[in-house]
Symmetry: C2
Subunit: 395 residues, 2 copies
């Protein structure tokens, strides 16, 4: 094979808001009709307040067709082909501020100012659509089901079964749990068991953070972007110390678009707390239920959706874990590599050894999400980036 099999571990798709109607359970359609204009107005308000409308407008010029790939099959295939991407993992929220599923079921999965039953209804509407959308190119698309598991673990278990039956490959869980139980609570064990059994990857995708702390004062956005990756990785600390990977050794968790640069230090911190007890022995036995060091669980069970991977993270790949890193393009978000993916790849990856590059660009994601690399081969042969164009280096 003279081309790389590229799988983006982080892409997004979503319908224009009004089109979610037919995917919503009939009993919620009346509420949907009332909520739709409110949702659209709220998004507009946020766009005025936090998103620079001008920049977005400028960025969108002449890209309407390509951006409609957020929900249009043919356009999406064109965009991915042009970017050299054979396969992709598809999260909700197509275009940053435009394609959110209804009822607060978007990627941030808030716990405040939402009605749990409605959030579930919005999640299911999106899951139905994304399952259909992925079936239009099943070898290329690994869909992520939205699962607001905090409220009702029984419903979450059912949704995991439904997701697997309908060909989805992963479940998105809330990053922040508000006043609900965190992920070391034993009530989530049936969910972990089901995800392990069905081989569905649990996903945490960055976006959520405690906005109530940031309020609306000078500096709030700087604080948000400085903290958001920490909040995204936080569930790992709860799952590792809670013994989740001890009880469910085949469970896979992906942390997506939350940078990867923190991984070595966080692993070192966890291991230090596990191994050096002088500073903490007064706190009692907090580690005998773990048979391995935290970093050993990380290596085995945790994977990183490294969207728009910067050169620095590629250089740190051995510290982070070269088998744990999965490149991603973040299409169609403006912060992503699209439509400059091919150029961007050289900036990040020139000088790396071929096998490590192959792992990070696609083979790791194929193993984690269960892509069939043989089925992708004809697409790769047509659109994959040619290996000869990368300057290679030693391991």
């Amino acid at each position: 094979m003279d081309r790389y099999t590229v799988i983006s571990s982080d892409c997004h798709a979503g319908l224009p808001p009004e089109q979610y109607r037919e995917y919503v359970d009939p009993q919620y359609r009346e509420v949907f009709d009332v909520a739709l204009p409110i949702q659209i107005e709220k998004v507009k308000e946020a766009t005025r307040k936090f998103l620079v409308a001008d920049i977005n407008h400028e960025w969108r010029k002449g890209r309407d067709d390509a951006l409609s790939g957020a929900w249009d099959h043919d356009q999406r295939c064109k965009v991915l082909d042009a970017d050299g991407i054979a396969g992709e993992v598809i999260f909700p929220d197509g275009i940053t501020e435009m394609n959110m599923p209804p009822f607060g079921a978007g990627i941030s999965l808030p716990t405040e100012e939402i009605v749990p039953d409605l959030q579930w209804a919005g999640a299911r509407a999106h899951n139905r659509w994304i399952a259909e959308f992925c079936q239009m190119a099943p070898e290329r698309r690994a869909g992520v089901a939205i699962v607001p598991a905090l409220w009702n673990v029984g419903e979450a278990v059912k949704e995991v079964k439904w997701a697997r039956q309908h060909g989805l490959k992963s479940v998105l869980l809330p990053v922040c749990w508000g006043k609900q139980a965190a992920y070391h609570h034993p009530k989530y064990d049936p969910l972990w068991a089901e995800c392990q059994e069905q081989d569905l990857v649990i996903n945490f995708h960055s976006g959520a953070a405690p906005m109530e702390d940031y309020a609306d004062h000078l500096g709030m956005m700087g604080i948000y972007i400085s903290e958001v990756a920490w909040w995204n990785a936080r569930p790992l600390t709860f799952m590792i110390w809670g013994g989740v990977f001890e009880r469910f050794p085949r469970l896979k968790v992906a942390v997506t678009e939350g940078t990867s640069i923190w991984a070595p230090e966080l692993n070192e911190l966890w291991d230090f707390r596990y191994e050096v007890t002088h500073f903490s022995s007064k706190l009692g036995d907090y580690r005998s239920h773990l048979s391995m060091k935290p970093s050993e669980y990380f290596k085995r069970n945790i994977f990183l959706g490294s969207s728009c991977m910067p050169r620095k993270e590629a250089d740190m790949r051995h510290e982070i874990g070269v088998k744990n890193m999965m490149w991603g393009s973040d299409y169609p978000h403006p912060e992503g590599t699209w439509p400059y993916t091919r150029e961007q790849m050289h900036e990040t990856f020139d000088g790396l050894p071929e096998d490590e590059l192959a792992d990070m660009l696609g083979l790791n994601a194929a193993r984690v999400y269960g892509f069939d690399v043989d089925k992708l081969a004809p697409i790769v042969a047509r659109i994959g980036p040619e290996k000869s164009t990368f300057r290679l280096g030693a391991a």
Copy 2:
């Protein structure tokens, strides 16, 4: 001078709980009498549950006299002399689970399950006592006033004035703010102004974390000790982005007993968010109110109380900031270096150049907290660690 001037940036003192009575405002003494047995019972319960009573009991054997230095002047002088420590910064909570000020005014300064007026009353009782205690050896002791500023900034400003008038050198603010406003809120500006004016160091000391997230499930203590340093440093992110050090360029903040290992990466993250806007330009202008990079404020305004500094942090001193690091012993806590401080110092500092060692062991703390090194000189001449016993290295 052939000996190092050693100043511990992190020591603790507190009265046996019943002895706080006479320092409490008269109108709160009846409540004090009711609350005292409840407080003692709660501490006992926590000791049974989270602290290994056996280890503490074992550790305390034969050390009763030395531990009573938590509130006894003569004993304290003996202990510090034996450890080679000339000066010290003194926080509340003498012995981990025994000497907490009343009404929830201990070092964690919780925002839940407390009555703000009572927390203030408890804080003032401790402040009165620690001011007296420091006056018994004013050249050696920099006392830290407890200031529960979240509830009432006007009261906080008054307490800062009181603290300065009574010879205290620093104010301890809550690390976690619960549902109150975070430290980028402009309501705190009068407090920052007063601390800058009075040259009192603002202190965040580790201990607090959102215990409600940890609840009482398997792994909770592992999660707590993995996160607690992050919570302790979190106020910095709010103050930097909120422009506090832009408006108050002479303000000094110390982050104490929260490790220092995170500082280089956190600075890099802040600066990246400040300088590289591709990933965040859609969020609008969040940086034009800052005339410097976040790491420049850090270098100028932020200092680290590096309790029980491990060798690794000493090795990282140039990345962390050799002028920002202040060694500490954490006496009388069991996780501290006492009573093995002299041996511990060699483990951490052998092989370092003399001037850097002098800075980290005491001169930085002298500059930050305003110790008069000349007044300490006779004590140093008697008890300070001899420079010749350290193996020196190049810068």
